[in-house]
């Protein structure tokens, strides 16, 4: 019974990836268009949110510090290209590894803090990193790093003519991160993570080393968030501290996941599919009303969403299923 459900789910997952991969082959859907930009952003933010979901959704440690790891990844790629004149690839790897190390170093003491204190500590860490990077000349300071003009292609991971390259880059990132989470979910670490979330003492009494489990979740999560950061800086051709290491950026990780459904495999994708087009289209079409209108609307939607359905879209789906099951008479209910 259980195995069939997993297979069914993986089938959906595989079909989705194939569909997304085939999208650029249909002419007119993705060119150098705004729609391509929105698609790339959806894939990127879904991946970011999924990386956050590992530690906060599955392991239950609400981190508001993920923009730090995202930023380290961004600076890894940025410095490889701008400061050292290399391709971004060693930067991706170095940034991601460094982010994982930083995450473990930061989280080790912080995991002792409970609930709100952990959250506030992660805010403080974002602010410290932001302010230090602002005055640190080696990483470009407040001006940040601006990319030189580079030839297009996978070697430099930049494309200036068409967005198809970036689209496939984002898709690769998406498949990698969702694949890893899918793997974690069905393997030992995933069960440990959920056990720690549901009851740390109980999990420990059964022999789960909760600190090691949480730290490895954090390291995985930071590594993947940093890869997203690397992609983000390649896509924008520049990086500065407020762009990547800010509380607003941290909140995007949180918001997208919660809006979609916390601790759920599809949650980050659903959240990104709703929030990101909303953000990008309001930004593009409402600027006539002056600056900031997009964020005014964005803010209002978040408030409304939290008032109406705090468990996110997956909450609506669960409610709907439960109602159908209660209706009971339907023969196919509960499938």
């Amino acid at each position: 019974m259980k195995t069939t459900r997993f297979q069914q789910r993986d089938l959906v997952w595989g079909a989705l990836v194939v569909m997304l991969a085939a999208l650029p082959l249909i002419p007119g859907v993705i060119g150098n268009s705004f729609r391509a930009h929105v698609m790339i952003m959806v894939l990127l933010y879904a991946s970011m949110a999924q990386s956050w979901n590992i530690v906060s959704g599955y392991a239950g440690q609400t981190s508001f510090g993920h923009s730090v790891f995202f930023g380290i990844g961004a600076y890894g790629a940025g410095m490889a290209v701008v400061t050292y004149g290399l391709t971004p690839w060693p930067g991706f790897l170095a940034g991601a590894l460094l982010a994982a190390v930083v995450a473990v170093l930061i989280s080790w003491p912080c995991f002792r803090l409970s609930g709100h204190y952990f959250a506030i500590a992660t805010f403080a860490i974002v602010e410290i990193f932001n302010r230090l990077f602002m005055v640190w000349d080696w990483v470009g300071g407040a001006l940040g790093l601006d990319y030189p003009i580079l030839p297009d292609g996978w070697v430099n991971f930049v494309w200036s003519q068409t967005k198809v390259g970036f689209y496939y880059g984002a898709l690769a990132l998406f498949v990698l991160i969702f694949g890893i989470v899918r793997w974690i979910e069905t393997h030992r670490l995933g069960y440990y993570l959920r056990a720690v979330r549901e009851g740390q003492e109980t999990a420990e009494s059964l022999g789960v080393n909760s600190t090691a489990v949480k730290l490895s979740a954090m390291a995985f999560s930071a590594f993947l968030a940093a890869l997203c950061g690397g992609f983000f800086v390649q896509y924008n051709y520049r990086v500065d501290p407020p762009m990547v290491m800010s509380l607003e950026m941290s909140m995007k990780f949180v918001l997208i996941t919660i809006l979609g459904g916390l601790g759920n495999f599809w949650g980050p994708l659903l959240g990104a599919m709703i929030l990101i087009p909303l953000q990008e289209y309001t930004r593009a079409y409402l600027t006539v009303l002056g600056s900031g209108v997009d964020l005014v609307i964005f803010g209002l939607i978040i408030v409304l969403m939290m008032v109406k359905q705090p468990r996110g879209i997956m909450g609506i789906v669960t409610d709907f299923r439960a109602r159908r099951r209660r209706a009971g008479a339907l023969p196919d209910a509960g499938a």
Binding site: P109, A121, I128, R131, G292, V296, G299, L300, M306
Partner: protein, 286 residues
């Protein structure tokens, strides 16, 4: 030595102001267990109100703090009634994210309406005046704001500790259901607490306009510092908030002067991290 005294005095005065801003947050956090993310933006709204009252109607901040206090009480109560009361419950996340949405909304609405420019009231009653004590120069607006914040804080403390309303608030904070069974209308207490939290920043914001410029981002930093103060003091503790605020004010002033101005907030955040590593529930928490 004179410079040192000057830095200490400046730090303490900043700390007193921080204490009033943080007291409102501490109350909300302690009683309702809600992380109120829009607290800093409430402060910004209060500052804009006080600024426009001064700019358009010529009302001095010495008076307009009353208006901004009342206005923010209403805003706070409305926020509770329309938003928080619908999502408060088991998890801490929905109210946190809802208030984050509210903060985005308020900040960008002000950005859109009032532009990102810094605005400072000219020719206020207190503005630019100073008092000399020995060789230490104290800005009169800072002094008045600091002392007044302290008085407000004492009044709040008295209200919580000595009045029947205060006991009802404490009872609600300890156990909502038990308080309900004792005949306390806890929903109304929550409404009042959110309003009072708003009034605290309303008063602080109203006073601050006599020497601080208002702009859409002004609330973010104050809000963040208020979080640190509350967590540092131990949540729900008003004396804790005062002590933590004074410490943060001092550290900010000392680090800003003796290390470098850019490091003053880094020092503050580092201090917080170090303290909570040693005392995970804050200085006065248990």
């Amino acid at each position: 030595m004179d410079i040192f005294a000057q830095v200490i005095i400046d730090g303490l005065l900043t700390g007193m102001l921080y204490a009033l801003v943080a007291a409102g947050l501490s109350l909300i956090w302690g009683v309702m267990d809600v992380i109120h993310f829009a607290h800093g933006e409430f402060l910004m709204v209060a500052m804009y109100l006080s600024f426009w009252l001064g700019f358009l109607a010529g009302v001095d901040p010495v008076v307009s703090w009353i208006a901004s206090g009342v206005f923010l009480f209403i805003i706070g109560a409305l926020t509770y009634r329309l938003v928080i009361s619908h999502c408060i419950g088991k998890s801490a996340m929905p109210p946190l994210l809802a208030t984050f949405g509210l903060s985005l909304f308020l900040k960008n609405l002000c950005m859109n309406r009032f532009s990102p420019n810094f605005r400072l009231l000219q020719d206020t009653l207190l503005g630019g005046k100073t008092v000399m004590i020995g060789s230490v120069v104290i800005g009169l607006p800072q002094l008045v704001t600091g002392v007044f914040s302290l008085i407000m804080l004492l009044a709040l403390y008295y209200l919580i500790k000595k009045t029947r309303l205060g006991w009802a608030i404490q009872a609600t904070a300890m156990d909502r259901e038990a308080a309900e069974l004792m005949g306390i209308h806890t929903d109304r207490i929550y409404l009042l607490v959110f309003g009072m939290g708003g009034a605290c920043v309303g008063i602080a914001g109203g006073l601050m306009t006599s020497y601080l410029a208002v702009h859409p981002e002004v609330g973010s930093l104050f809000g963040l510092i208020a979080f640190l103060i509350v967590a540092l003091g131990g949540f729900g503790s008003i004396p804790g908030a005062l002590v933590a605020a004074l410490i943060i004010g001092l550290v900010e002033a000392l680090a800003g002067f003796y290390i470098a101005p850019v490091f003053k907030y880094v020092a503050v955040f580092m201090l917080y991290l170090v303290v909570v590593m040693v005392r995970p529930k804050g200085l006065f928490g248990w």
